[in-house]
């Protein structure tokens, strides 16, 4: 996965709660056997109207076409497990999401691909969303090492992250390789489990 250290760029507010993975990646883009072409799919039904960019959608507005962070509403990524939603956001250039709560499978999918999710209290998220809603003050930088969001429009916001998750984002390590270090433990565990539960 892509490591994450410090990233700077435009942030766009997207505050509607419960934005689901069907909205993030509509079904028409789920029929591949690889990860290609999903940037076009991301928010497709909101971004485009009869094939033309929808001028009302935030990512099509002046000042937001190079967005790399989204400031999102509660429960972002709910619904289907489709990891295509995360691949599509990344292919659209999104590197991090700032919100209150993220849906569980989506959050794991983000972590497995190096898309950083930052959870903060609702007032703080609302404050950041208000600042970046103005195209003149919509740039910020996220420093994972320092666990800080620096807002060009003013202020810095610290954010929490579990040490293991932080380490994984910083190194971009391959989770499977890390786990296979414990192959002997897995084998021993499995033999014990099958002995205790022979019906499995």
């Amino acid at each position: 996965m892509t490591p994450f250290h410090r990233v700077s760029g435009v942030a766009a507010p997207m505050r509607t709660p419960n934005i689901d993975t069907d909205v993030i990646m509509p079904k028409m883009f789920l029929k591949g056997v690889d990860r290609s072409g999903l940037g076009e799919g991301a928010f497709n039904l909101l971004r485009f109207d009869a094939g033309r960019p929808n001028p009302d959608f935030i990512l099509n507005r002046d000042g937001y076409r190079e967005t790399c962070f989204l400031v999102v509403g509660a429960n972002f990524g709910c619904g289907s497990s489709r990891e295509h939603a995360v691949w599509g956001l990344q292919q659209l250039g999104i590197r991090a999401l700032i919100g209150t709560t993220f849906a569980g499978i989506f959050s794991d999918n983000c972590a497995n691909n190096g898309l950083l999710t930052i959870s903060l209290d609702a007032a703080t998220v609302g404050g950041i969303a208000d600042i970046v809603a103005n195209p003149a003050s919509n740039r910020l930088s996220i420093d994972l090492e320092q666990q800080l969001i620096r807002i060009d429009g003013g202020g810095t916001v610290p954010f929490p992250i579990e040490p293991a998750r932080k380490e994984a984002f910083l190194t971009g390590r391959d989770a499977i390789s890390s786990t296979l270090v414990f192959a002997d433990d897995i084998g021993a565990f499995e033999r014990r489990r099958w002995a205790d539960n022979p019906w499995f």
Binding site: P17, V33, D34, A103, N112, P198
Partner: protein, 474 residues
């Protein structure tokens, strides 16, 4: 020290090793089931790194998401993309040595219907699969939960998943559901009360006398649908109903081994003094048939109610969301939901496509006919369910009522196949999700129980099923 919850017992029994001090563990996963649309990139990853599937016998592959449901089955997929996914799926099954049910297999069906049918799911297991509705297996006293494609690959390569322990929530269901009220209505009521993120970060245990009274299939409905409140895992203590359901299935133990297994399974329950992070109680006797009016599963009301006014919602973001939802749905506040006409009726999906669901629907369709201008389709959860419904005479009742009797698949739950609504079309649907575009771009979905869908199909509008059951509608 207080006792342990069933969830914690299942996790404790599957921890290979701790990975940090915050609850991150390497969790052994007993089984998985794979579908053709979330698995391809996982297999591609294994191929690219030269890794093998560690335990192919622990997996089952079933085509369900992209296949057509037309009555006449052929191996040919209707479009090139679906064909490529199914071909690649078959290649992966062959090359990695995993059992595979193709579209013509008499055991084919929706993965979460097929896995229990085959006895792949047993109490005490942890089952992770690439579909959010894997929580279905909670109904059997197994911990089921959904994972993404990266974690499918991780599981296939290692038999484990990196897992962070969840908080626990017990939902006690008391009382008896009145006539016309089903487990679907009960779980929709729970989602309304706690919200679409009310169980985010939690594993849910369903308990209480109404759950004990409920059939295994009813418990499956609850276990699947609570995902729409954000639950990441579900457990229900297994009982004799679960044993009756599993006995004699192809993969469940037989003879003396069955006796040993069931003795152990019946011990699986939360300790009396176990503490949950959150508890709630709901009286099933007070639940009415529910219908969604919006584009989130928590936007639902009793069928007798009026569509709510977003302006009465105190939270600004919820108000905006409700306003947007009503615009998408083409509905006005204050309208009786029962006056809303439908174009399409769909009974199917892993939530509501089992034999009991089809019996409920048949009870409404018997001697009636689908209303003029409405198209109704019933997609059984598996080819075995289809055969059973035909043997019981249910299929004939449906066909006589003007319903299209289909082959099995996920179909219009997510409309990845050719069962898809046109923009603006409105459906009564027994599925889980009423998201924008879920059943087709611009399509409008009202979630409800299978019997309620049948009632809407025969009247042509959203209808209180109790009026057709001869019960006392309020």
């Amino acid at each position: 020290m207080s006792g342990r919850t069933l969830y914690d017992k299942l996790i404790d029994a599957h921890v290979v090793r701790r990975l940090d001090d915050d609850g991150l563990v390497l969790l052994y996963v007993d089984r998985t089931v794979l579908n053709e649309y979330t698995s391809p990139q996982a297999f591609a990853g294994l191929r690219a790194t030269g890794r093998k599937v560690r335990n192919p016998a622990a997996a089952l592959m079933v085509v369900d998401h992209v296949n057509p449901t037309a009555a006449r089955r052929t191996r040919q997929m209707p479009d090139a993309d679906a064909a490529r996914q199914v071909d690649y799926f078959a290649d992966n099954a062959r090359d990695f040595g995993i059992e595979y049910f193709d579209i013509l297999d008499p055991r084919q069906g929706i993965e979460h219907v097929v896995a229990p049918e085959q006895g792949l799911v047993m109490p005490g297991m942890v089952i992770a699969a690439g579909d959010s509705h894997t929580t279905a297996y909670g109904a059997f006293g197994a911990l089921g939960y959904g994972i993404g494609t990266s974690d499918i690959e991780h599981y296939l390569a290692t038999s484990t998943v990196r897992y962070r322990r969840l908080k626990t929530m017990r939902i006690n269901v008391t009382g008896s559901p009145p006539l016309g009220v089903t487990p679907k209505d009960v779980v929709m009521e729970i989602i309304c009360r706690i919200g679409a993120d009310g169980a985010t970060g939690y594993a849910v245990e369903f308990a209480g006398p109404a759950v004990a009274e409920m059939s295994v299939e009813g418990r499956i409905v609850m276990s699947i649908m609570i995902v729409e409140a954000g639950a990441r895992g579900v457990v229900i203590a297994p009982d004799h109903k679960v044993l009756d359901y599993l006995k004699g299935r192809p993969r469940t133990p037989k003879g003396e081994m069955w006796d040993r297994a069931t003795a152990a399974w019946l011990q699986l329950r939360s300790d009396a003094d176990a503490r949950f992070d959150r508890e709630m109680t709901i009286d099933a006797g007070e639940v009415a048939p529910l219908v969604t009016w919006g584009t989130s599963p928590d936007q639902a009301i009793p069928v007798t109610d009026l569509i709510p006014d977003p302006d009465t919602n105190p939270a600004a973001d919820r108000k905006t969301a409700a306003t947007r939802a009503l615009a998408y749905m083409g509905l006005a506040p204050g309208t009786p939901i029962q006056s809303v006409p439908i174009d399409f009726a769909f009974i199917g999906s892993c939530t509501n496509s089992r034999i009991e669901d089809l019996r409920d629907a048949a009870q409404i369709f018997r001697g009636r006919h689908v209303a003029s201008g409405v198209r109704a389709i019933v997609v059984p959860g598996s080819t075995q369910v289809r055969a059973q419904a035909e043997a019981e005479g249910i299929a004939k009742i449906l066909i006589d009522a003007g319903v299209e009797w289909r082959q099995s698949g996920c179909s219009m739950c997510l409309a990845m196949n050719d069962d898809i609504l046109a923009p603006g079309q409105r459906s009564a649907s027994s599925t889980n999700r009423n998201f924008e575009g879920r059943q087709g771009p611009g399509a409008r979905t009202h979630l409800m129980s299978p019997a309620m869908v049948a009632a809407a199909a025969v009247t042509g509008r959203i209808t209180d099923v109790r009026e057709l059951l001869g019960g006392d509608a309020p």
